[in-house]
């Protein structure tokens, strides 16, 4: 992990180390959001995200905050780019659809739509939440949630993959969701 004091001093070697460390994460986010529609923009968005991170280095309190912040910046930049490009495509600045969006477009708008829990979060707030998820979502709950919600595996497939009974899969998922709810402050007490 790079030395934050060295980064704040503008140490070129420390920044080289930081760029190499952060690059896979920002590139992965840009790739995730832009690959189906604007693959040529992936590198630019990743680099611009790192530039923006450089601008914010004096606001960061510890090195651990760097990666969540970089990922948050990349997410916001990619979503902004998608909104801007599709707004142009549909007629400069018009928010309502002029044509029925394709499945791909609908999927594209999902993470950027106003009902997304991430939509209203500022970069720093999202970075804090991501850092918290990374630290507090203990294994194997994250893996079970990924298998089911991101990779669309069925209960039986997950059970085989993780070596548990089919009946336990739901339990892991339920506990995983509860953990996420708690981390995001969306549990019953809030």
């Amino acid at each position: 992990m790079p030395n934050l004091q060295a980064l704040r001093r503008g140490d070129a070697n420390a920044w080289d180390e930081a760029f190499c460390w952060l690059w896979p994460a920002v590139f992965a986010v840009a790739h995730l959001k832009l690959r189906p529609y604007f693959p040529n923009e992936i590198d630019d968005v990743a680099i611009e995200s790192l530039e923006e991170l450089v601008e914010m280095v004096h606001e960061v309190k510890s090195s651990e905050e760097l990666k969540p912040l970089a990922v948050s910046i990349a997410h916001h930049r990619a979503v902004s780019l998608l909104r801007e490009r599709f707004a142009k495509k549909r007629g400069e600045g018009k928010t309502e659809s002029l044509d029925v969006p394709t499945d791909g477009e609908r999927a594209l708008y999902e993470p950027a739509s106003s009902d997304s829990p991430l939509a209203d979060l500022e970069q720093k707030e999202l970075a804090q939440r991501l850092g918290k998820v990374l630290a507090e979502l203990k294994p194997p709950f994250g893996e079970f949630l990924s298998d089911f919600f991101l990779h669309d595996l069925h209960y039986e497939e997950i059970a085989r993959k993780r070596g548990v009974s089919v009946g336990s899969v739901g339990v892991y998922l339920k506990r995983g969701l509860e953990a996420m709810r708690r981390i995001w402050g969306r549990d019953d007490n809030n």
């Binding site: 070129a12 986010v29 998820v133 990374l134 996420m180």
Partner: protein
């Protein structure tokens, strides 16, 4: 709802939310919700939770990715950004003097020094002129005194100088030998019809004789020009 129904409701909800449910499972969930209306709110809450997970986990996964090399072409662009940001930050804290600012200060000092050399020193030099002493030798006598035309011309030419009237060569010799540094003596020898200039200026000695031709005024003018040349060099 008992724990068995609770688990079943959760599993059915998950399958429906992720579009994995069969028609029979949909009907089963609808039946459960009809019996217990509070399950509708719980279903809505689960939908939101799933949405949160689907939005968040890819970003968390991205943070754990280690694959992918930082492209070399981005290196200089980002290092330039680092330099700009750090300089801006230091300037904002008032700890920075840019090279351009330093050079402007140096150039300003050089210009000021040049101004002193070009303008001020010559002015000072101009005000520092040699002391001029005048003497008029009249061995014949009869035309001495401050009222003579020659004496008046000498005073007019060097208004701040002292004028001595001498009547013998010995007296003139004695007068000439009383030299002081940075002093110029101008002697008008009426009998020889000449004006002699003897001087020392900044360690340099000079001397020249001017014939009174066509008249004394012209000779004095030439002598004055000669003195000016010597003290300027």
């Amino acid at each position: 709802m008992n724990s068995m129904n609770d688990e079943r409701f959760f599993d059915l909800a998950m399958k429906i939310i992720t579009r994995q449910a069969t028609d029979a499972e949909r009907a089963e969930l609808d039946a459960l919700r009809a019996c217990e209306p509070e399950l509708c709110a719980e279903f809505d809450r689960l939908e939101k939770d799933v949405r949160l997970v689907k939005d968040t986990l890819p970003l968390v996964d991205a943070m754990q990715t280690a694959a992918g090399d930082f492209p070399a072409y981005a290196h200089e662009r980002l290092q330039t950004k680092v330099r700009q940001v750090i300089i801006r930050h230091v300037v904002a804290k008032g700890q920075y003097r840019s090279p351009a600012l330093i050079w402007r200060c140096v150039l300003g000092l050089v210009a000021a020094a040049a101004m002193i050399l070009v303008v001020v020193l010559p002015i000072l030099h101009m005000y520092r002129a040699p002391r001029i002493q005048l003497a008029m030798l009249d061995t014949i006598g009869g035309i001495r005194g401050t009222d003579t035309n020659e004496g008046a011309l000498l005073r007019k030419t060097w208004s701040k100088a002292t004028l001595d009237f001498l009547t013998s060569v010995e007296a003139l010799h004695e007068w000439e030998t009383k030299n002081k540094p940075d002093e110029v003596k101008v002697i008008y020898e009426r009998a020889a019809a000449e004006v002699r200039v003897l001087g020392k200026w900044h360690g340099k000695s000079f001397r020249k004789t001017f014939l009174v031709e066509p008249d004394l005024e012209a000779a004095l003018k030439e002598a004055k020009s000669f003195i000016a040349e010597q003290i300027q060099e």
